[in-house]
């Protein structure tokens, strides 16, 4: 199962992922069409700025997701197999329990209605729109093992380099 990973050193804060997310969740699915639409298309991820670093925050689709546990109407559910956390706007009453318990603050609201909006990982796409839009490849859509494997290989090279340097001094 592929997940959206963030390479924390890559984000330049361009907000392209946010724009692409909103466009993907519009009726027109094009920028020039989306900006004129009602309801206003909403983004589901957020480029934040902390300690002089930029990073996109988005739903991690956590195991035993607090938003699912907090939801009193059954609007928020977690797929038994994929563990994807989905939101059903028909069942949402806008009580914001999910927003209150989400540790990442990535559950927003629709502009015109009192209902939540969150990442659905772009069910109509092979690769989520935010990942495709990222010009620096800060967002990566990969299996957890593949992503961790890439990180491991870089780390391994650094460790070996350090070791070799220590040996030659």
């Amino acid at each position: 199962m592929k997940e959206i990973f963030v390479r924390l050193d890559r984000c330049v804060g361009c907000h392209s992922c946010e724009v692409a997310c909103a466009v993907e969740h519009s009726a027109a699915k094009s920028l020039f069409g989306a900006i004129a639409e009602t309801p206003v298309p909403r983004k589901r991820l957020y480029v934040e700025y902390a300690l002089e670093r930029k990073l996109p925050l988005l739903c991690r689709h956590c195991e035993d997701a607090p938003c699912v546990r907090a939801c009193r109407t059954g609007a928020m559910t977690q797929d038994a197999l994929t563990r994807l956390v989905s939101h059903n706007r028909e069942k949402c009453i806008g009580c914001w329990m999910c927003t209150m318990v989400c540790p990442y603050g990535v559950i927003g609201r629709a502009k015109e209605e009192r209902v939540a909006v969150k990442c659905d990982r772009c069910p109509e796409r092979d690769t989520p729109a935010c990942v495709t839009a990222c010009p620096t490849r800060a967002l990566v859509f990969a299996e957890e093992e593949a992503f961790a494997g890439g990180v491991r290989r870089v780390a391994a090279a650094e460790v070996v380099q350090g070791y070799v340097t220590a040996q030659t001094v």
Binding site: E18, I35, V40, K43, T132
Partner: protein
């Protein structure tokens, strides 16, 4: 997926590029996708160091820049700066010609005689410069000085606007306070008013843009006038267009860029070097071809074939048969040097303001123009000796193209129908409905549009509906490469009324057939020629340009120059189509003013439509609306 081009030669060369692993503009475009939404909407402001600021088009994030600028303010400022850049380009080209004319008049540039004295006298008379008692060179000097004076800030309106437009347009410009008094000063004013903390009123900013665009018109018109004086006013000429114009047994030299100041001299000296080219092993000697508007300039005046245009410029090198590409300025992809490195082709830059890493630079001086031109051609002959015959791939495609339709040439052709009143046949046929209206095609190709497809689709539909078609720049290049600048195209695509008119004029001109379906009026500065035709028709009819059934279309626009031309076309009163969405939609007020409200101010407006069929419909509707306004059916 859309094809990258509908040009057969370009299609063939793109396969070569793929096989050879050489990246083109299309490949680089793919790597840019998706492009930044803020940039696409025009809502990114980088005009101060507190930025960059972006306004969220969906209203969730920031709605104001740090300084408080709204999306409309930011969009208007960005649009104005694009207009200023376009103006600087056209008028930089014109200023270069003015300096050349002055040097020629002073005897400092002996390689530039006045080629068209009639045009010199006509321009001088229009500007109110007395010719009596002046030698040709004294008059040339007076015109050159008048031209150079246009660049600084004067106490009076730009002569190249005030004397070239209708009285009604001057009044409209005065009414809205958009009369430019200097070309460089108009550009400078845009930079001032769009700087941090100056003009924040979106409408006032747009009016500033119009003022600068009128200065752009002055630059374009001056560019045309001075080039005609120095190099001759174009008359109809038969040539060819597309990469098939390259010759396997010749030293092929492409002249690329915009200004005829060097390229025309290269054409003049080429016969002197024929023997050297043959001695180097090129049995057919030298073969000059054009790319983009420098290509248009030498096509119009000398019948030099056009190799290709705009987005496909890199592919000329990939034929393996191009020995040198000589460039001046504007629309030169920096990638040319990278592509040239993969072949024997010598890329030669010639202008101090336009160098490309990896290219050979020969500083061009008007004082020694012919010597510079010979040096350029000798570099090409040297390069030819290194050509690898195994890598030569010249596509077999090229079409006959008739060009050279200056305003003077068109009036000349019409005067063969009616000697005393040349415009009468044109007007009579517009009134009678044989000609529904006139459309000027201008602008570039754009990697976002399958190359040439929008030009061809719209032109064929308008021709079918009896619209008289004019073209300049890379638009004219498109039509040349696809065989639409021919009498055969008239027979194939023109509606019955248009066909009859083009045939009558063609017969009177002794062509034994119709005029071409589309009249090639020259380079992008030569949009002034089309404006002259519209002004002449308006004056003859006794109405202003904003009442005429005349429209303009840039279906594949790319450059900032296209934005400045589009803006003066709208200010001239023309419904003006743009087929690529300009970065203005992020400012809702700006988008509405440009496409609707501006009609109430200047009479023209922007039609933004990416679908060629719908664009043709809207252009036809605009023409019909204008006809109705004039009481025509």
């Amino acid at each position: 997926m859309n094809p990258r081009t509908v040009c057969p030669a370009t299609t063939e060369m793109l396969k070569v590029a793929e096989r050879e692993g050489i990246a083109t503009a299309w490949d680089r475009y793919d790597k840019q996708l998706p492009q930044c939404g803020f940039g696409e909407l025009g809502t990114c402001c980088r005009n101060c160091l507190q930025g960059p600021c972006r306004v969220d088009p969906f209203g969730e994030g920031p709605t104001l820049g740090v300084c408080g600028a709204t999306a409309d303010t930011i969009v208007a400022r960005n649009l104005d700066r694009a207009i200023a850049a376009g103006t600087a380009s056209h008028s930089g080209h014109a200023k270069h010609l003015a300096h050349t004319l002055l040097k020629a008049a002073d005897g400092r540039a002996p390689d530039y005689p006045v080629k068209d004295e009639g045009k010199l006298r006509a321009v001088a008379a229009r500007l109110g410069i007395a010719a009596e008692g002046k030698t040709t060179m004294e008059l040339a000097k007076a015109v050159a000085e008048c031209a150079l004076a246009e660049f600084s800030e004067k106490e009076s309106p730009l002569a190249w606007v005030a004397t070239t437009v209708t009285k009604g347009r001057v009044e409209t410009a005065l009414k809205f306070g958009v009369v430019p008094t200097g070309i460089d000063s108009a550009i400078s004013e845009i930079m001032h008013r769009t700087a941090y903390g100056v003009d924040a009123d979106p409408i006032n900013l747009l009016l500033g843009g119009v003022k600068c665009a009128l200065a752009d018109f002055a630059g374009c018109h001056m560019g045309t006038d001075l080039a005609d004086i120095l190099f001759g006013t174009p008359q109809p000429v038969v040539s060819r267009a597309n990469l098939g114009a390259l010759k396997v047994n010749a030293v092929n030299v492409a002249l690329h860029g915009h200004n005829p100041v060097l390229s025309d001299v290269i054409v003049q000296v080429a016969p002197e070097l024929e023997a050297e080219a043959k001695a180097a092993g090129a049995s057919e000697g030298l073969n000059l071809v054009g790319i983009c508007c420098t290509g248009n300039e030498v096509l119009m005046r000398h019948g030099i074939p056009s190799a290709t245009h705009s987005v496909s410029q890199e592919l000329a090198i990939m034929t393996g048969a191009l020995d040198a590409m000589v460039v001046d300025y504007q629309c030169l992809m920096p990638s040319l040097s990278t592509v040239a490195e993969c072949y024997h082709t010598k890329l030669i830059t010639t202008m101090p303001i336009a160098k490309i890493p990896g290219a050979t630079h020969l500083d061009f001086h008007e004082e020694t123009a012919r010597e510079s031109a010979r040096a350029v051609l000798r570099l090409a002959i040297e390069a030819f000796k290194k050509r690898d015959p195994k890598r030569v791939n010249i596509p077999s495609y090229s079409h006959t193209a008739i060009a050279g339709f200056s305003t003077e040439a068109i009036v000349g052709a019409l005067s063969l129908v009616n000697k005393d009143d040349p415009l009468k046949p044109l007007l009579d046929n517009i009134v009678a409905g044989n000609i529904l209206g006139v459309c000027l095609f201008a602008g570039c190709n754009n990697v976002k549009v399958p190359q040439d497809s929008a030009f061809l689709a719209i032109a064929k539909e308008l021709a079918r509906n009896n619209v008289l078609l004019l073209a300049t720049g890379c638009g004219a290049g498109t039509f040349a490469r696809h065989g639409l600048l021919t009498p055969e195209a008239t027979n194939e695509y023109a509606g019955p009324g248009l066909k009859a008119v083009l045939t009558a004029v063609g017969q009177a001109a002794g062509l034994g057939g119709p005029l071409p379906l589309i009249l090639h009026m020259g380079s992008c500065v030569d949009n002034s020629r089309a404006a002259d035709v519209a002004v002449a028709v308006a004056n003859k009819l006794g109405v202003d340009v904003d009442k005429l059934p005349v429209v303009a279309s840039a279906p594949e626009a790319t450059t900032e120059k296209a934005i400045s031309i589009g803006t003066w076309a709208v200010a001239a009163g023309l419904p003006t189509h743009v087929g690529v969405v300009p970065p203005v939609l992020g400012g809702p007020t700006i988008a509405r003013v440009l496409t609707q409200d501006v009609k109430g101010l200047f009479g023209g407006w922007f039609i933004v439509e990416t679908d060629p069929a719908k664009a043709a419909e809207q252009l036809l509707a605009a023409i019909r609306e204008r006809r109705k306004g004039l009481g025509l059916t």
